[in-house]
């Protein structure tokens, strides 16, 4: 892995981290409404996985906690801020928020709140590519909770039968809203379900961004060779509530303390400093500059008017 790539990984993780932190501040200030879903502690998964794709030919189907993947695929901070704060000029015209963003020019097709619903759709996207002889790989995500939805099963079986170029990350962040893994499924590793579909599956540490990248690169390569879909379960911890209204008091404090030591941004910064790839001063500068970019973007976005009410009556049909 080149030093350039390693710095890129860190840069995108810091962007995701600071964007997330900005949204949490805006929520507390009453300036962000609806659900604010933090990806704190999960940045390595979003960034490492999306970096494995070729944004000129592949396609991203992110979930609501994958802001890092949006950035890797070229979404700008302003664009994401306008979407999150539902301001005039946002791509969704104010019709939706909460991370459900699509930008066909960037090959990003976002989520809906019904988790698992976009996996069959990701299949269709790459099926179309296959019919036209293109080599598009789709990367999509589901949580440890969402993995229990029937559509996920149907989609994986379908993708396996048709050998579709699909990479599914199961982001196991231990809790589905307030429900722990133990009440969601009985298998010790969700990736073992791959056996039942006749596809590749593995479980990895989701706080190690380089491991995520390498594992996803291998999955993308298999997909491109026509070997079909892969399931990659990434083990992380959801360090905030389901959304910011949720005080997550049901999560044992010791568990959070334990995972805090494995914070992906901090551990990767330390690693790159230790390897002499970047200095601690440069890391600090990167974080400060990114924070400044967020603050400037928030200022610009909050000055924008709300979308005109007439938008609510447009585009039900095209």
């Amino acid at each position: 892995m080149t030093n350039n790539t390693r710095v890129e990984l860190l840069k995108y993780m810091i962007m995701a981290r600071e964007f997330d932190a900005s949204m949490l501040r805006l929520y507390r200030q009453g300036k962000a409404f609806g659900g604010v879903y933090s990806q704190l502690g999960n940045e390595a998964v979003s960034v490492g996985s999306a970096m494995a794709l070729d944004p000129t030919q592949d396609v991203l189907f992110p979930m609501h906690r994958n802001v890092g993947a949006h950035f890797v695929f070229g979404a700008t901070i302003d664009q994401m801020m306008q979407n999150q704060l539902a301001r005039e000029g946002s791509q969704m015209r104010g019709t939706d928020g909460t991370g459900h963003y699509a930008d066909p020019r960037l090959r990003i097709y976002g989520n809906v709140s019904h988790l698992g619903a976009m996996i069959p759709v990701a299949n269709g996207f790459v099926l179309a590519g296959k019919l036209r002889g293109e080599n598009t790989v789709a990367l999509t995500y589901i949580g440890d909770g969402g993995a229990q939805v029937g559509e996920v099963h149907e989609a994986l079986n379908f993708a396996a039968v048709h050998k579709l170029p699909l990479v599914l990350i199961i982001e196991n962040n231990q809790y589905a809203y307030s429900t722990p893994n133990s009440q969601e499924f009985a298998v010790d590793q969700l990736s073992k379900r791959a056996i039942g579909y006749g596809i590749h599956g593995e479980t990895i540490d989701g706080t190690d961004v380089e491991l995520v990248l390498k594992t996803c690169q291998a999955a993308v390569a298999r997909a491109r060779r026509g070997e079909g879909p892969s399931i990659i379960e990434t083990q992380t911890m959801r360090m905030r509530g389901h959304a910011e209204h949720d005080d997550f008091s049901y999560v044992p404090k010791e568990l959070l303390d334990e995972w805090a030591l494995r914070d992906p941004v901090n551990t990767y910064s330390a690693k790159l400093i230790a390897d002499g790839v970047i200095s601690s001063e440069e890391v600090k500068q990167l974080r400060d500059t990114t924070l400044d970019q967020m603050i400037a973007s928030i200022d610009r976005t909050l000055e924008l008017p709300w979308p005109d009410a007439s938008e609510g009556f447009k585009q039900v049909f095209l």
């Binding site: 019709t95 976009m118 990701a122 269709g124 559509e151 149907e154 079986n157 379908f158 095209l318």
Partner: protein, 322 residues
């Protein structure tokens, strides 16, 4: 003369020959040619890339259609029976129906299959569920009654930029035969048709009930009553103007469909008539629909709960006598 089933197959075949982006996906549509043999010969002509047999996974099939549509294709998704659309309901109403509004990206997809009762097929192979989808916002809903309309509306549906739910009536597949134009034929979505002109009362209807209404109109001739029959053909978009014109002329209306009564689409039509043609009405608007139950299996039960020409004739007489 062409059957309703052949007319639909013809429309699909013509579009598939013309447009490489049109393909079909469903269960048993390839080698087997579909449960009703609508796609007989399609696999041989178009190959397994464009006639795709999928596992029994309506959500996966529906999603495959949506995703392919997002990526520039025009999929035709077959539900082996429209009853099974419930297994793909989330894909259709949550994803397909909201994509244009939220993202501004077209989902040019047709979901089609056999619906309706009267053939002794049990509660799970007989449902008329068009009202659910008319209520979903973002889906066009088509219910052809004749072979020519089935062809023309199918062509229009395939060419539409929006998701279309196309309800074929399995009882009409081989029962109805009419003159169907050869070659490319389009009936635009959102245009009702006066299928029988009359002056005393209007029946506003669609699908299989159009044939019941025409039969009832003939029965009423004996009473000296002139019945107009309007086939709305598409629920969404709805051609309200043609409905209102007819009711303003006759001053009386019966709304009929094979689907169950409560929260059925007849309620929507009756309400629009009340809103916009109230002062033209000489009698309350009456609805004829199936009894509010699942569609039963035994012929005696099924015949009893479903509407028919006699029930429509009875409603017409009561409206005329008001």
């Amino acid at each position: 003369m062409t059957t309703y089933l052949d007319a639909i197959a013809d429309a699909i075949r013509i579009e598939m020959r013309k447009d490489q982006s049109v393909f079909m996906i469903g269960e048993d549509i390839g080698v087997y040619g579909g449960a009703f043999k609508l796609t007989k010969g399609f696999l041989a002509e178009f190959g397994p890339q464009r006639i795709i047999d999928a596992p029994i996974s309506e959500a996966a099939i529906m999603g495959a259609g949506i995703g392919a549509a997002l990526n520039g294709m025009r999929p035709i998704v077959e539900m082996q029976f429209m009853d099974f659309i419930t297994n793909g309901f989330n894909q259709l109403v949550t994803v397909a129906a909201t994509t244009a509004y939220r993202w501004g990206i077209p989902v040019p997809m047709v979901v089609r299959g056999p619906s309706g009762g009267g053939v002794g097929a049990n509660p799970f192979h007989s449902r008329n569920s068009e009202a659910w989808f008319a209520h979903a916002t973002g889906l066009k809903v088509v219910c052809p009654a004749t072979a020519a309309d089935a062809k023309g509306l199918m062509t229009a549906s395939i060419r539409d930029q929006n998701p279309v739910v196309f309800f074929e009536h399995k009882g009409l597949y081989r029962k109805i035969k009419d003159e169907v134009p050869e070659g490319e034929y389009v009936v635009p979505l959102g245009q009702a048709k006066v299928v029988r002109e009359g002056t005393d009362v209007s029946v506003i209807t669609y699908g299989s009930a159009v044939h019941m209404a025409l039969e009832a109109a003939t029965m009423l001739e004996a009473d000296g009553a002139s019945v107009e029959v309007v086939d709305i053909r598409t629920l969404v978009p709805l051609d309200e103007e043609t409905i209102l014109q007819s009711v303003r002329k006759t001053g009386r209306a019966v709304v009929a469909h094979e689907a169950v009564l409560t929260a059925g689409f007849a309620g929507e039509i009756a309400s629009r008539i009340a809103d916009s043609a109230f002062t033209f009405l000489d009698a309350p608007v009456k609805r004829v629909a199936a009894y509010d139950s699942p569609t039963p299996f035994a012929p005696t039960l099924e015949k009893a709960v479903l509407p028919n020409a006699e029930k429509i004739a009875e409603a017409l007489r009561s409206v005329l006598a008001f």
